[in-house]
Symmetry: C2
Subunit: 151 residues, 2 copies
């Protein structure tokens, strides 16, 4: 599926996604044209999904990020779809994850400060449909760069 060159290219791409293809090529030890063609193929195969712009909400004045766990009402078959559709409409919800098991869903919510968070929580979160139970955790930090990766 992936040979060693692909793996080197992927590692370089993860290490410095904004780098020009030529840069990545050099670091991976191939010519730019080769790097370009291989990265193109990896994107076609869906292995490289997309480039994503990461915004630092803290720098924009959103000091609080909370991870909320939800259990939904199991008697309502449309609970999942309704809940997700509603959650997507809340601007302060920046991520939605679904799970197998007791906990059905997790939302990440950002707010300017704790006061603002309380406001969002009451007006936008508690009003989401089919909630059976909620648990909140305040997020302190996210460490994204593993030293080692499985590629």
């Amino acid at each position: 599926m992936l040979d060693d060159t692909d793996r080197r290219l992927l590692r370089q791409l993860l290490a410095d996604p904004a780098a020009a293809t030529g840069e990545i090529a050099e670091r991976a030890g191939v010519t730019p044209a080769t790097a370009w063609r291989r990265l193109e193929r990896l994107a076609e195969q869906g292995i490289i999904r997309a480039q994503e712009a990461v915004i630092d909400w803290r720098a924009l004045g959103y000091e609080v990020e909370v991870s909320l766990r939800f259990s939904l009402d199991k008697t309502e078959p449309r609970a999942f779809d309704d809940f997700i559709a509603a959650a997507r409409g809340v601007p302060e919800v920046i991520a939605i994850e679904t799970f197998l098991g007791r906990v059905d869903l997790r939302l990440n919510v950002i707010a300017r400060d704790m006061r603002h968070y309380q406001e969002i929580y009451r007006s936008r979160i508690l009003t989401l449909p089919h909630i059976a139970d909620i648990e909140a955790l305040m997020l302190i930090s996210t460490i994204k760069d593993a030293e080692a990766l499985p590629i």
Copy 2:
């Protein structure tokens, strides 16, 4: 802090991060030079943290992703640092988050299948230092694009 033009540029960038600056400029209704200067400034200010390459682990044969919650041993002051340092060394750990409260930490772990996951869990996770308690949730999907954003 941000004026309306910055906000438009940010929205366009989030909507299509791979687009050329000229494209983003046009969609935001400014010239490429202006777009470039403003995006540069936003990056300097740390508001645009980085471009990130998103890898589809599933397409690479990692079918299982699990979110693990840890409580650590509160009698050991170095528990946090030790645990994080060790977790960063595990290739299958692709994200680390820290929290305020009863749950101290969350790791996202990927594996080829459930058998492989069991193997990693026993040999690489249970051997991490200072664990008091673990809870696992199997991740089904992640929805990243909120329809509305707070910018």
